[in-house]
C-alpha cells in the first residue's frame, strides 16, 4: 500500500529529506512497524529513529502511539518534541 511519510524540523535535517512516498506491506502495519522498517535502512535512519529518542509521530495530523494502525493513503509524520510559543 502507498503511504506518505514526513520528517519535520531537526529530523528533516538529520535524515536529509522532508519526506517520501513509500510502498509498504499492508499486513498489520503500525507506527512502530513503520519506524522499524525505516531504522532497518541503517546509518542516520537507525540512530535518529532509535527507540530511546524523544520522538513524536502523527498519523493523518493526529498524535499517534506506537500501536496506532497505518492504513493505505495515510500521512505519517515523524518529529521532535515541540518548542513553539
Amino acid at each position: 500500500m502507498k503511504i506518505k511519510v514526513l520528517y519535520l524540523a531537526s529530523l528533516r535535517e538529520q535524515l536529509g529529506r522532508p519526506g517520501e512516498d513509500l510502498e509498504i506491506s499492508p499486513a498489520g502495519s503500525t507506527v512502530a512497524g513503520l519506524r522499524a522498517l525505516l531504522m532497518a535502512r541503517g546509518g542516520a535512519w537507525q540512530t535518529v529513529l532509535a527507540q530511546g529518542k524523544a520522538l513524536r509521530v502523527a498519523v493523518n495530523q493526529e498524535m499517534a502511539q506506537p500501536t496506532t494502525p497505518v492504513k493505505p493513503g495515510d500521512e505519517i509524520a515523524f518529529f521532535p518534541p515541540v518548542t513553539g510559543g
Partner: protein
C-alpha cells in the same frame, strides 16, 4: 477564525479591539504576547526560525482553543502564531481571551499558552555565535501543562 499561522507581524492592540468587537457583554480581556529574546539557555541568539506542520498545527491549536472554551466560561479566543525568520524583540505569538469575568479569562489564556507549548507542532531553531541549534523541549513546559490535567483516579 480563532487560529492563524502567519509569517507577518501582528498588531496586538488591533487584534484585541477586533476580538472585543464592542461587545457590551465583555468585562475582561486577558492576553499574552510571546517575544523573541536575545538569549536562551545562557547563550546569545541573533536570529530564530520557526517551523510548523501546515495543516496539523492549525488543527492542534483549534483543538486547544475548543478545550479552553469547554473548560471555562469565556466568549472569544484568538491565537496568532508566527512562523519563518524572527529576530530578538520580534513578536512570536498572541493569545487573547474575552469573557465576562477576569478569573476565567486569565485561566483560559494561560491554559492555551501551556498547551500550545507542549502540544502544537511548532519548532524553533536559533542562530547563535556558535552556529545554529534546534531548541530543546523544556521539562518546565511539560510541568506547566501537567497542572491542567485532571487528577488521575486512584481507584482500582
Amino acid at each position: 477564525m480563532p487560529v492563524r499561522i502567519q509569517t507577518k507581524d501582528f498588531d496586538a492592540g488591533a487584534e484585541v479591539a477586533a476580538l472585543r468587537r464592542d461587545n457590551p457583554k465583555v468585562g475582561a480581556v486577558a492576553s499574552f504576547i510571546g517575544v523573541c529574546r536575545d538569549a536562551n539557555d545562557g547563550g546569545a541568539v541573533t536570529k530564530m526560525t520557526l517551523e510548523h506542520y501546515p495543516g496539523m498545527t492549525e488543527k492542534a491549536l483549534d483543538k486547544i482553543v475548543s478545550e479552553a472554551k469547554s473548560r471555562w466560561e469565556v466568549m472569544d479566543v484568538l491565537v496568532v502564531h508566527r512562523v519563518g525568520e524572527l529576530k530578538p524583540t520580534d513578536q512570536i505569538v498572541l493569545v487573547v481571551v474575552t469573557g465576562a469575568h477576569r478569573g476565567e479569562a486569565f485561566a483560559a489564556c494561560e491554559f492555551i499558552m501551556d498547551y500550545l507549548k507542549t502540544r502544537a507542532p511548532l519548532w524553533k531553531k536559533e542562530e547563535t555565535p556558535l552556529g545554529a541549534r534546534w531548541v530543546e523541549a523544556r521539562s518546565s513546559d511539560d510541568e506547566a501543562a501537567q497542572r491542567w490535567e485532571p487528577p488521575k483516579s486512584s481507584a482500582a
